[in-house]
Symmetry: C2
Subunit: 433 residues, 2 copies
């Protein structure tokens, strides 16, 4: 058996503790899978005396990153501290010191993938990041290895478990966003500050990484248009259900007219679609490849042990030597690997759901239809329920359009929002068909 | 760029034609993914003049396997002819000649995996077989690489698209087995002789391969207990629906009491379960790993291009050098890789659905309940519909049991089948909860 693969963890929060636990408790199994021992030599932490969810021999705990960097028996640094400032320094220093890097840090890769991968190429070392997207779901390997005969043409993914938990609760039990969020927080599925989860930022980071692998697209997360789930109302979930759809927060990227369109947004998905069936905090990624057709990968998107499963799979791949070979050919975040350019969101074609609150008065429907027609948008279906008797308030008018350019649809909505019969701003979602 | 990887195909039916098409039409893409060219040098066929779904340069068509075996620029032989006799010779000769082997042949591996893998180890060559299980779904890599930090504890899989197509049609449209089969044949989803698909043999071959990777179990396909779908009646599908379940033909293997239980059988799956949502000819594999938890992989289980996607992924892995490393550490079908032993099916614990046709006469229900009680089996729910007025015929009695040993359940059913009030043999399915 070859020499042990020496490992140092930097950061020992939830994920780090899970990785340490797995390395320490399943060393025989992991050695068998890797063809050599995986030896945890150092765990670099800020506070050596903090209580952690895993018991670590005090000999391997250290506050000094240099202990790990200068240990010639350490081959891999696992950056599990999160954040983008210190974490980036740790990764770049590790590479410069000749260490491979395993990271679960989506924000770091989405922000600084180019710089990090260039540094790795210069140092002739490998960066692995299976855990950075969709936790325990091996989607990085699926894209970079398993489906390598394909040009991926579309990615549709549920990449944020918190949002999916909230939307599932709203859809299945008819509760409001605020109540569903409160429950998610009580159950530990949402952070005290859930902003990055529910506003689509987290999913945008992960989408940026997937789009790099699948399309060679380098899109900074802030360049990815995103809409969160905070504004979703119970009434639209009800209408979606009536129409045979479910609203899911999707991270989507697809080839359109030689470019790649990408966004994160609540999308109406047909109830019979596999993505509609993904419940609770699970993640799922639906890929279409030009050779294989449609495939789906699903599993836990976060959590201590699912994420540790992916980090340790990367360690095994490094020990076996697979990861280095994939790194060499994949040419991620490089000039040679550059692929598609990004389609401006205005040009993206989609079907749309449009819900208006309209005063029940002559001519209002005609005005709405005219605004759409002026942008060349045709209506696929339209439902206006009767106002409750004796009620002169606005009633919901729900329109499903045929395919239209996003820019033209937005222009029509702008006009509609100014019509005198329209009582509150239009609500709209793209519809996946 | 390294030298080209030289490839010969043996067999050019549906899958072979798909592979040839992909290699010829996407050579630039594949070279980029593999870091070197994939060069199709020979296609060995029985009849050089037969019309094929792909146009091949006549210079590469040959009837002589030796042309491929003696070409020093051929590194890989793709065995895509099917069958277990000649195919086995081709594989063993190829290995002996120093060629790597890629095969889509599930029956061959399930039958002769041990012999083939020993031959490969002796020749220091690699055997790849992603396409042998679940067509385009990269489940071999998921088990052997992506989830390598895990001990898999359970596999539940829809591995036969024909059966799933038929069951979907029966469940969604209430039609009978014979009608659904006829439709599947008309649409090309079922062979003229569908026996191996609908009797569970095909799924058992695939399960034997998955169980070898996940559990180190060497189970010959004929040792795997299997029940097909030919006997499934519309009435049981209706009752399943009423109870909140769907009947799926599942290939299952799971760790129980230090052993592995495995079988292929129609199983009642809860409607909210992801496997219940798998429609038509798709395949899906749900894996539970002790670290990651529950994951699901879904995609097209057969077809020219999906299967070609997996064959060519193997070729790319060989070109890159990943496949050789996985082969070395995985130790499949070897003494060192031997793992769990197989649990006798009698000992397997499950919940059961039991449907009896009972004469509505005093004491008959008591007799049935006593037969179950005598085997220590307790009843979870029981439904007996009233007989239509004036009808003295047998009425269906549907019982759901709590967990019980299969052997004891079968003993109880034997007794029940002999009761005077029972009008036809009991129908039973395991229930997945």
């Amino acid at each position: 058996m070859a020499d042990a693969l020496g490992i140092a963890l930097v950061g020992c929060g939830t994920v780090g503790a899970g990785v340490a636990k797995l390395l320490l408790s399943e060393s025989a199994r992991l050695a068998q899978r890797a063809g050599r021992s995986l030896e945890l030599r150092h765990v670099v932490v800020q506070d050596q005396h903090k209580l952690r969810p895993v018991e670590l021999p005090s000999s391997i705990l250290t506050k000094d990153l240099n202990v790990a960097l200068h240990d010639p028996h350490v081959h891999v640094i696992c950056e599990l501290m999160g954040g983008t400032t210190t974490a980036k320094q740790v990764v770049l220093e590790s590479l410069a010191r000749g260490k491979h890097v395993v990271t679960a840090n989506k924000a770091l890769l989405a922000d600084a993938g180019h710089e990090i991968f260039e540094a790795a190429r210069i140092a002739d070392r490998t960066v692995c990041f299976e855990a950075a997207v969709a936790g325990g779901v091996p989607i990085i390997r699926a894209l970079a290895e398993s489906l390598s005969a394909n040009q991926i043409t579309s990615i549709q993914a549920i990449l944020n478990g918190t949002s999916n938990f909230i939307l599932t609760a709203m859809a299945e039990r008819g509760i409001r966003y605020s109540q569903a969020l409160a429950e998610a927080q009580q159950l530990g599925f949402a952070e005290a500050d859930p902003t990055l989860d529910v506003d689509g930022s987290d999913a945008a980071h992960k989408l940026a990484i997937l789009a790099q692998i699948a399309f060679g697209v380098t899109a900074k997360p802030h360049e990815i248009e995103r809409v969160g789930i905070e504004q979703i109302e119970a009434i639209d979930i009800r209408f979606a259900t009536e129409l045979g759809y479910t609203i899911k927060l999707l991270a989507e990227a697809w080839v359109a007219g030689g470019h790649v369109a990408l966004h994160v947004a609540p999308v109406m998905v047909r109830k019979t679609d596999m993505l509609a069936q993904v419940r609770g905090s699970f993640n799922a990624i639906q890929l279409v490849g030009d050779v294989v057709g449609e495939t789906l990968f699903q599993g836990p998107g976060a959590g201590m042990m699912p994420t540790a499963s992916s980090v340790v799979a990367d360690l095994i791949d490094l020990a076996v030597g697979r990861a280095q070979r994939t790194f060499d050919v994949a040419k991620l975040w490089s000039k040679e690997g550059r692929g598609f350019s990004v389609e401006p969101s205005e040009k993206v074609r989609s079907r749309f759901y449009l819900r208006l609150m309209v005063m029940d008065q002559p001519g209002s429907l005609a005005d709405v239809c005219r605004a759409l027609a002026e942008q060349g948008i045709s209506i696929s279906s339209l439902v206006q329920h009767e106002a409750p008797e004796g009620n002169s308030q606005a009633v919901p008018l729900v329109i499903m359009t045929h395919y239209a350019e996003t820019g033209k649809f937005r222009a029509a909505v702008k006009v509609i929002d100014r019509l005198p019969a329209i009582q509150q701003p239009a609500v709209s979602y793209s519809v996946d068909d």
